[in-house]
Symmetry: D2
Subunit: 499 residues, 4 copies
């Protein structure tokens, strides 16, 4: 494989091939196991748990519910929770000024008039703000959840109450998962012409079950690493039959989701699970990409002593210049208080490392998936597991040594902290703009390929978020624009600019 | 002009066209004015001044000098200063371990055996380490200075004493400048087959005067923004007749020269010129690229209150997330104690701004060239200029208000501080590797075009500098490399990775 | 009152006088209102809430419980929770190495043999480690809670199961509160000879009800600002009849509880309540004492833009030098996203300020008590209060503007985050050493006065915590000690040293 | 000696006793050696060197000079340099707003009318601003230098030209030193009634030669550690015959001179001498007092990896919480790139340590005097010393290893960087206020003892410097002042407050 391909894509390639092969061709209710995409179960397993202590055991699929306008074109846990969900949506609106601005600016022209969008994403208050924005821009939407755990039932209820056909609840079975997706696309008298996907399951479903639908579809907007990878594979195989927009690799998303967001969520995740003090603690961070950089900066600022491991000499040199000792994991594993993985790699922390850690060492993963720590190696008879809190396990060695394992090695920030609305706002705005772009693009601008968001739109997303900070952008004078050879409205940087 | 072209290149384009047009066709001694490239006068005007209080007024061109082996194939200020220069070179060697390692590793195979390199760069102790490394690798070298002020006479003397044909001294006239270059290439019985250039003047000279030389030349390695731009122009115009390597845009160079180096040199430059205290001072930094990021980080760490101006909304959003108020210059110009430009733009600080600054405000430029501050606008009769120290002018308004202008708006870090050897080591190592690559590349690998350094070599440069920090790189296991789809030896990232 | 007295003491003076005056002379069950000390209700109201969703409505006082050894000399919520509490204690032990070291070092000599300690503190896992350490050192203990909300029932159960006479549960009434204290001291055949108090309620009770007990009491160790103030008042009034040790003002406690702990808990408290993103947010911190310094440092590190208000010009100048704009609250109140009070003053944030804040502004208190924000002024008919989460209220203006008020203006870090065990370890170790010192002091060393912990013991507490960080202290040589005029074992600083 | 005395004082005690004993009773021209106080030669040896390349060999004592008004009551290097000196004074005035404010505020009332001040301090532009302020407040002044190297001749000339009887030049002999002092006090028809001293030499001289003068002297203001120590000794011995004000231990001076000033000057000193890059460098800082804290914070911010050594467990714990590994020097001595001493102790870096350092290790002292590094141990035959720059020596081991020793182990910040005017402004303002206070104090307020500056004046000095930062102090309301038990105008903190 050429070295010029993106590492992350390589990772997913390995994952996905396996997964697609495993996927059964026939889907029967409750007959499926382990066939939905990893991302559909991987995340958010706890973040939302506080909102849902429902003891109602009836499956939403077996319930008859109507919203106040008499519609029953939805399937949610409990339509009566709509009011609470509405409040959450209103709170979210206050931190998503860019979407609100889009509503205002674009409402007159209704740039999505005629758009029929089928969506499959996490269903949260922030998604609701996106959906209602798309509605305000003229679109009709139908929506399912991209993850069986992540739906906020109250928000789903609020959306259903407002007339959005939403099919999602927290704790879906795998069969429910596909049933919900199917209810979004398999509708009499309605056919989607745009897809908004997060993880690729919706796109996959349409490919498998309703390939003819693509004739009317103007484009796909995909948000996740996994989904983007699937699209590149389709494209490579010559099977992508509509243009697709990769919003995952836009600058704003990358820098925000990774660097800035992890800078905060590493602290939050560790505090909520362990109440530990950071000052003076010795920490090793495996990997000095954007995520690692964010983690290291935050912990250093809180007075931790941070060591870094890297395989890439350039990132390694950055770690040195940023003031971190670059070590091999083995060199410090006996002395550190915390081990954090952010590599995108597998088995970075092995059983051998775990055996050598000192008592009370905390082990967690901020990278991808749950492969970085070899958690499976800890499932051996001589070790005792003790669940001490939600998302916190003590793994106990025969000599009494305890390792504190967080989120069973899954992503700490998704499992044990919350993602700030502001970050989600950037993503949602990017999605909305990508939909508008693809929907309104003149024939021929986009072919049956995967596109990055045009830099100008990336810049536009950023500019929509500046008012949040009362930030005032400087405008080029004509003379300056000419001197720089730039258009006064951007784009301002070449594509390869590193930021 | 397409927005996808690099902004910096645009800048230089404007500059260069003008300059090339102005360049007279005939060069007589002392008859030339303003025709050498801007970069050849722009920098280093003071950094080296402490070593040179010579009162010897005789032009080196009129002196007869021989080194201890009897050679007179050089032209330096004073061959007797060789010993002092040798000590400086030895000191520099201690901070350039990568070149010393190259000498060791590659000496057996002499990868530059047969190479005849003509070079035109700043002549400093660090350059001397590079030249002597090239010599150790098998090359013959002839060298001129790329800047009329920047030569360290003692170092030039030491090189001449060691047998290197060096033609350079501090304080060359423009005519001297071209004469020196000519003495490097116009030699009987010796013709260069490699060019190492910094600013493009050497390349330009050969194009103008000895175009036939290019038949034997295997490649050009160019270090500067200006020179690289000239090469791209030649390439675009179909006039580039050999492969050229752009080492300016390598990751290590960019991040080190800009982010990490400016983080230190902004403090150093301000202290050496003004002895000011940073704590509590209000500073506005114009531009939040790598240079601006470095300046802001350093000043924030020293307790300054930093404001940022930007035209690019993405960089602007980064400034916000990094904790800086994003303003228009006008909003803060009355209150700030220091104004720093890092935009690559022109007239960022105008006379109007200067009029509104408060008494004692310090104004300086960390960006490019000397266009960012409209210094010319201060040359009006009602304002008094008072030189208070080397590189420090007080510009005095009729009401007594003084503005402290540093380096007359030229680059502060080149003019008023020194560049750490370690940074120069990275650049020099990159140059050496680029020369080896071009010289040894099989026919056909490189065409008559401008190339970026292959990422693998960028990573190699980085890896050669890790031992300086006693940094230990982790190696991928076979299993991990397979999982990531990477070669265990790199490259480890796709070309578009942002670091 | 002389200005040279400690500000904090002034505060409490005002509070306390009022309170003592109000205190009724006769205590009947459930007949008391507002008579317990503020500190006994002020704190911890939510931190522990996750452990206690008990629906058992029976008052512990009405239950018959026995531990496994048959003892019923205790009163806790549910003795059956002992096992869960024991696990929490074991976890805490791992972060309290100093107490564990004390157990080891001092166990042979049993320095508290014969000590009969009555204690009144928060009853948490950390307190349990302290109590069991005191036990291991030879003491007999009886214990009540110093706060009606803060008891961890499981921990109380575990202590009772281990044989400690503990009288405490979460959610005591005020009558319960005094009943529990009384049960600790009013015992047949047992009379305390040492008091460990936190808030002064226990001391107060003995003064009021059993003044004769002081004849046998060797000393009081008091931990809180409030309690210390009461003691100074007693001393001033000539009514203090035993020596008392003020452990509140020891260096380690002050710096840890305030600077280092708040540096972490401000972030934690804000995240847990609001999930906000810190990057780019504008924050005003009122007060730049140790608490304010900690808050400012943390928020600056996370990319917030921080303004500071101060009344003291020295602290103000420190804020300037540390890089914060010093403003009056009015100047920034319209633009900030967060207002944090850390002054120890009252009505720092007034209704007028609240009226001018922008929509979604977050308001919280890290200072003392709940006086800093004039919360009472928000209890007016035109404003709507909406409880959106535990500890989070939206106060809604008629025009729809919402202010996000945290913990109703009470202490954010106590209400909405947890205090790291490590900090509590320092306090607990200090308490243990103070008890040992007072109990073993030769006749005459301490008179009927309030004493600060001897600096040497402060240094000893610090030294006991260094192994946690694998920190290696340097020892003076004889020659150096002589040169400095110091004892090799300390104390190393004069009393007025500022650290 | 009791451990509760200040460490620094102990140091000086040892030094001073020796010195006083050595001091000969009779002073003949050029007959004295090693008898002036250490502080009179220790500092500033190079900072001012750039202004003085005079080749005039005539002793100022042998010159006949008159200022433009015909006065010859002064002795400076060259009265003709007055204009240049005046400009330096004007520049300094711009960064000393507090003194300028004092001139304005107090000029009407002339609080120093009648004061006859004899001063002995460093003679710099900042001192000139102080002297001219004292003059503006009504005082007559006569002045000598407290250090034989530190006088700026141009400034001395400017003061002489303005009519100040100044007796000082750069490069005085020891005999000159005392002669100058004598010329200040031994004047016909003029007798001082106030002393402003820095180092105690002036005070000492009057004690020895003109003890009767003390009858008219209202007080001494002393600035230095050494001088303060001498005063405490006199006081202890019952020989202090006037009140003295110790301005060295005021909060503003301590925190600024040490923490904030060293935070900047460590970087400046290292850059100016070595041009090194800080990023990635390993540094050990010996001592974590205010100076060490400042050094560590700065280097950490620049990307260095910092280790700390300490003898005091409390400071050690602070280092841990601030994110530094606490080590013994031996543990890291082989690996570090820089060793910085800030202990106030002696022989912290021994020959054994120096033998074990790696090649190119930089060694310097930010602490006190020149005792911290055992420089004497390097004066052995097998080691070669090579002066590579001003203040930079290479010490070369037989195997070629070089240690880079800065300022021969003297204070780096005084020797190799400059002290910001702003810091000096704080000190000068404090001195002026102390003079006013002592001069105007009602009989009996001050006895024959050493006093600390009243906290209120310390606060006043701080407040005078706030306008520099456009900092706006908040005022207490009457209600708040009452609540806190404070006077609205301060003082705001108890004396033991740690800041």
């Amino acid at each position: 494989m050429e070295p010029s391909l993106h590492r992350i894509q390589q990772i997913q390639f390995a994952d996905q091939k396996q997964e697609f092969n495993k996927r059964p061709t026939k889907i029967g209710r409750r007959s499926l196991s382990r066939s939905i995409s990893q991302s559909s179960t991987d995340s958010y397993s706890s973040a939302a748990s506080y909102t849902d202590s429902s003891d109602d055991e009836t499956s939403p699929r077996d319930k008859q519910q109507k919203n106040s306008k008499g519609s029953s074109d939805f399937c949610v846990k409990n339509i009566k929770q709509a009011e609470f969900g509405r409040r959450e949506i209103e709170i979210a609106e206050q931190e998503m000024p860019a979407l609100m601005a889009l509503r205002k600016r674009a409402q007159g022209e209704k740039p999505l008039a005629g758009a029929k969008i089928v969506g499959c994403t996490h269903i949260t208050a922030q998604t609701a703000v996106l959906m209602e924005t798309l509605g305000a821009l003229g679109a009709q939407c139908r929506w399912a959840a991209c993850n069986i755990y992540s739906t906020l039932n109250e928000v789903a209820a609020a959306l259903a109450e407002s007339g959005f056909p939403v099919f999602a609840w927290k704790g879906e079975s795998e069969d429910d998962f596909w049933w919900c997706i199917d209810r979004c696309v398999n509708v009499e008298g309605w056919q989607p012409n745009m897809i908004l996907d997060d993880g690729g399951d919706l796109t996959h479903w349409i490919y498998k079950k309703y390939p003819n639908m693509f004739k009317k579809i103007k484009g796909i907007v995909e948000e996740s690493v996994t989904g983007v990878h699937r699209l590149y594979q389709l494209s490579k195989a010559g099977k992508l039959c509509v243009p697709a927009m990769n919003v995952n690799d836009s600058v704003t998303k990358q820098k925000f989701d990774n660097l800035y967001c992890c800078r905060e969520s590493i602290l939050d995740g560790l505090k909520r699970t362990t109440d530990m003090m950071f000052g003076g603690k010795q920490v090793v961070v495996c990997g000095y990409g954007e995520v690692g950089k964010g983690c290291c900066a935050a912990l250093k600022a809180m007075g931790s002593i941070v060591y870094v491991t890297e395989i890439d000499p350039i990132c390694a040199l950055q770690a040195c210049m940023d003031g971190f000792r670059l070590v091999k994991l083995n060199e410090v594993i006996r002395q550190v208080d915390i081990v954090i993985t952010c590599t995108g790699n597998k088995n970075v922390v092995t059983r051998e490392h775990l055996d050598r850690m000192k008592n009370s060492c905390i082990v967690c993963n901020m990278g991808h998936s749950n492969t970085e720590i070899d958690v499976a190696s800890l499932r051996t008879p001589e070790l005792t597991w003790e669940r001490v809190r939600s998302q916190v396990d003590h793994v106990i060695w025969p000599d009494g040594k305890r390792i504190v394992l967080l989120a069973e090695g899954r992503l700490l920030n998704l499992s044990c902290s919350t993602v700030p609305t502001f970050v989600l706002s950037i993503t949602a705005t990017t999605q909305a703009l990508a939909l508008i772009e693809l929907y309104n693009a003149p024939e021929g601008r986009y072919k049956q390929d995967v596109y990055l968001l045009p830099k100008k739109m990336d810049e536009y997303v950023a500019s929509l978020h500046l008012p949040t900070f009362d930030a005032h952008l400087t405008e080029l004078t004509d003379e300056q624009a000419k001197y720089l050879g730039l258009n006064k409205n951007g784009p301002f940087k070449p594509n390869y600019y590193r930021y």
